[in-house]
């Protein structure tokens, strides 16, 4: 019975992230537009964009290989699966025992790897620029991400997200400087990973400044729809991840009834709304940084997460 319920929750979770991701992106865009005094498009616009792209025919470069065509599916699947692993409204997910932070990072890393390959596949200069910049960012973001995982797992003694959430909700953890450092570092990594300002500008039309957009310039039609949907899912994933580790309150736990699950859903929606608004506020108040400053930015994230881990060792005398 528990397993059936967990499977049901898992299916709901998979569908929920898919359904909510465009809305979150739309909400961030709307909030950004309102902050600069524009009316902005409806938050439902990303759904319409995806539908439009899905209906459009695919235009492929003549020298595009099978890899170029396969990557959107690979990438979308990997990120969708990753997003399905992060407990959003309940910790009772069927995949929870297998879903730890390391698996999450591996899924995201492989999606990025394939997209970078696809960026170079057609041989345009922009694709190459985008891939090289993306890899530079990745080379700095992934170690920082791993250090964050280590800090948290030293504290909780597990890398399973469901157990981390349970532990955090139990209140046993208290206030810890390491967690604060890890939170800051995770937010910085999330900004870089999602190609947000100040690392990248998701709304730019300037080919030469693009990172993520440069890699996907050659995509069109349903391929582009999948790539876009994957980046929307990724944004949702990171928000869910931050919420799951640092603000798991409201999530349904073991033995929670239907009411707890419903309340978990509402809490999750609220968290996304707040997270989206904060992101929009942050993005509006800052200019994009020079490409080479990204190293300093992510180096900062790495240092913070490292400090968090060291503090834990020192304070616990592990």
């Amino acid at each position: 019975m528990t397993f059936l319920l967990a499977s049901l929750y898992q299916v709901v979770q998979m569908l929920l992230v898919l359904a909510l991701a465009p809305l979150l992106t739309g909400w961030v865009r709307l909030a950004k537009a309102r902050l600069v005094g524009r009316r902005g498009p409806s938050p439902l616009q990303p759904y319409r964009d995806l539908r439009r792209l899905l209906c459009k025919e695919v235009v492929l470069a003549r020298n595009a290989s099978w890899l170029f065509r396969a990557v959107p599916y690979l990438m979308f699947t990997a990120i969708w699966l990753a997003a399905g692993l992060v407990p959003s409204f309940t910790t009772q997910l069927a995949l929870a025992p297998t879903a730890d932070l390391i698996a999450l990072i591996a899924l995201l890393g492989s999606a990025r790897f394939f997209l970078a390959l696809a960026g170079m596949d057609v041989g345009t200069s922009f694709g190459g620029i985008g891939s090289s910049r993306e890899m530079m960012i990745a080379a700095l973001a992934e170690p920082a991400m791993l250090m964050i995982v280590f800090s948290v797992s030293i504290l909780v003694r597990t890398t399973s997200l469901a157990e981390i959430a349970d532990f955090m909700m139990s209140g046993a953890v208290g206030l810890r400087i390491s967690l604060a450092l890890a939170l800051i570092a995770l937010v910085m990594v999330a900004i870089a990973e999602n190609a947000r300002i100040p690392i990248d500008n998701p709304a730019t039309h300037l080919e030469l400044t693009m990172v993520h957009e440069a890699m996907v310039l050659e995509y069109s039609g349903r391929h582009l729809a999948l790539v876009e949907a994957a980046s929307m899912l990724k944004l949702l994933l990171y928000m869910a991840l931050i919420a799951c580790i640092f603000a798991p309150w409201g999530m349904a736990t073991a033995g929670g009834g239907l009411f707890a699950v419903l309340w978990g859903l509402v809490a999750f929606a609220l968290k996304l709304a707040v997270g989206g608004a904060l992101l929009a506020l942050f993005e509006t108040s800052i200019a994009k940084m020079r490409v080479f400053r990204v190293g300093e930015f992510l180096g900062g994230a790495l240092l913070l997460s490292l400090l968090g881990a060291i503090f834990l060792y020192v304070s616990r005398g592990v």
Binding site: K32, L35, V36, G37, R38, S125, F126, G128, I129, I197, P198, N201, A203, T204, H205, L206, E207, L208, T209, L217, T284, S285, I286, A287, K288, M289, R290, V291, F292, R293
Partner: protein
């Protein structure tokens, strides 16, 4: 009468013969030897090249002595279609010479760069404006870009079709990783044949063409054309028209500078500034629409005067606009100045040295941000600016930030100018029957001499000085008109500005220059 000053002294010495009916500055026709000694003399002097243009059998060059403001046009008849190139002594002449070659078939001898410029082998004709246009070349080869050698270099071709909706232009970057080693521009994609279209047109029709050279500086181009024609036919425009023209020119300057400041910030992904500046720009455009019946004031400046007068409530409306700008603009400047992340992008980016700016004679914010403090409203100056109080801001930081600040200061100066004009403008003239006629003097045939008459004007647009040279034929049509947009001397500097910067900073540098494609490609 022009004997004492060095520029005119030289032209007299090398046997230049002044040409009749060329106003307001003289034109000297020189021999081939005279032309060669002029080139020699230019090597050791600091005269600015203001323009270079061709006719089927003659080549013209306009020079200015910057200190005294003396301007002279020198022309050389070249029946063989060949003339000694100026590009070795004035690198800014090179692209103009290449354009003269593409349009008129005039060949510059010993030039530094003989490649075609405006002609992309897409016109279906060669030398379209020469006496004998040629058939298109049967097998056009690809354009040869300058060679770049070195290890680890790769090329990034950008454009002419861009991801955003902007004008077309091709940029060929050679980069080492992210660092730009060389940028080469390829322009001419929006060539519409304006010079050819103007040939043989009545003045009024040619004025409409001049207004469409570059949409964002339509007032300045119309004004330059009108002043050149008026100089040629020796026509004095009514004082009220002179003031109205200045008013329109300043409104255009404010609107464009506001747009540019916002767009530069937006290229650093600071969209807030663009949104706010766009609102201010919109306020200016709406005021222009209410005052002159057109948001960009196109076709409102015409030879002889203006085509639209201020309505009764115009001055009050403009003063309200200025008050609004004075209230809303300074806080935004404070935000720009206080945003560390933005300053990090603009300070020290895209440096153009003062020496280079002087060598190319670049005007406008590009020149003034690099210490070249010239403004056509002051030097040579034209009415009514001699009656108005304003400053010409100059900075020596030479970077993107300096170019933004020049624009900020110029917006402030132009607001003050609009206020002065709105308050002090000559009153509305009333006819005996109580009507208010337009401040417009009709152009009459044979005015200012019976034969061909030539006129030159230098007008400050928001980008810099526009030089327009016209020849009005005896029958009152335009024989030849050459409008030289300031972008001609700014585009080459952009290539220098980006050198050593990173590829991702190019949009920022480009926007801080904001050169015109249409004005340049004609």
């Amino acid at each position: 009468m022009y004997g004492e000053q060095p520029l005119f002294g030289l032209l007299n010495r090398i046997g230049g013969a002044p040409v009749a009916d060329h106003r307001p500055w003289p034109r000297y026709r020189v021999t081939r030897e005279g032309w060669l000694s002029l080139i020699e003399e230019m090597e050791g002097s600091a005269w600015s090249l203001l323009g270079l243009w061709g006719e089927p059998k003659e080549v013209f060059v306009a020079l200015r002595e910057d200190m005294s403001g003396d301007i002279a046009v020198v022309s050389l008849e070249c029946p063989q279609g060949r003339f000694p190139s100026l590009s070795a002594v004035r690198p800014s002449a090179n692209r103009l010479e290449r354009a003269a070659h593409d349009l008129y078939g005039l060949t510059a001898e010993r030039t530094t760069d003989p490649r075609p410029w405006l002609d992309h082998d897409a016109w279906g004709v060669r030398r379209p404006l020469s006496d004998r246009p040629g058939a298109p070349s049967p097998n056009p080869g690809p354009y040869t870009f300058l060679p770049v050698e070195g290890e680890g270099l790769h090329q990034i071709p950008v454009g002419p079709v861009h991801a955003g909706i902007i004008e077309p232009g091709h940029f060929r970057f050679t980069a080492n990783g992210e660092t730009v080693v060389r940028l080469e521009e390829r322009l001419g994609y929006v060539h519409r044949g304006i010079e050819g279209l103007m040939r043989g047109k009545p003045v009024a029709e040619a004025a409409r063409l001049a207004a469409r050279i570059s949409g964002d500086s339509t007032v300045a181009h119309s004004l330059a054309f009108a002043r050149a024609v008026e100089a040629a036919v020796d026509l004095r425009v009514p004082p009220r028209a002179v003031w109205l023209r200045a008013l329109m020119a300043e409104l255009e300057r404010v609107a464009n500078h506001l747009g540019d400041i916002g767009a530069i910030c937006n290229d650093a992904a600071f969209a807030f500034m663009l949104a706010e500046m766009s609102q201010l720009r919109e306020a200016v455009l709406r005021a222009a629409d209410l005052c002159f019946g057109h948001r960009l004031m196109m076709d409102r400046v015409v030879p002889g005067g203006v085509a639209a007068d201020l309505p009764e409530r115009g001055p009050a409306l403009l003063l309200d606009l200025c008050a609004e700008l004075r209230r809303r603009f300074p806080p935004l400047v404070t935000i720009y100045d206080g945003k560390a992340s933005l300053q990090d992008r603009t300070v020290g980016t895209g440096i153009v040295s003062t020496g280079l700016v002087n060598r190319f004679g670049a005007s406008g914010p590009v020149g003034r941000a690099s210490g070249r403090g010239l403004d056509a409203r002051r030097n040579p100056g034209y009415a009514p600016y001699d009656d108005l109080e304003f400053e010409v801001p100059v900075l020596t930081e030479c970077d993107v930030n300096a170019r933004v600040w020049i624009r900020i200061r110029e917006v402030e100066q132009s607001i003050a100018l609009i206020e002065q004009i709105a308050r002090r403008m000559p009153g509305l003239p009333r006819g005996l029957d109580g009507t208010t006629p337009l401040p417009l003097v009709p152009l009459e045939a044979g005015q200012g001499g019976a034969g061909t008459r030539e006129g030159l004007s230098l007008v400050e647009s928001f980008r810099g000085d526009i030089l327009t040279w016209v020849r009005v034929e005896a029958d009152g049509t335009i024989g030849r008109c050459h409008p030289r947009d300031p972008s001609w001397f700014q585009w080459p500097l952009l290539e220098a500005a980006i050198e050593g910067n990173i590829v991702a900073d190019f949009p920022l540098c480009n926007k801080s220059f904001n050169c015109s494609y249409a004005g340049h490609d004609l």
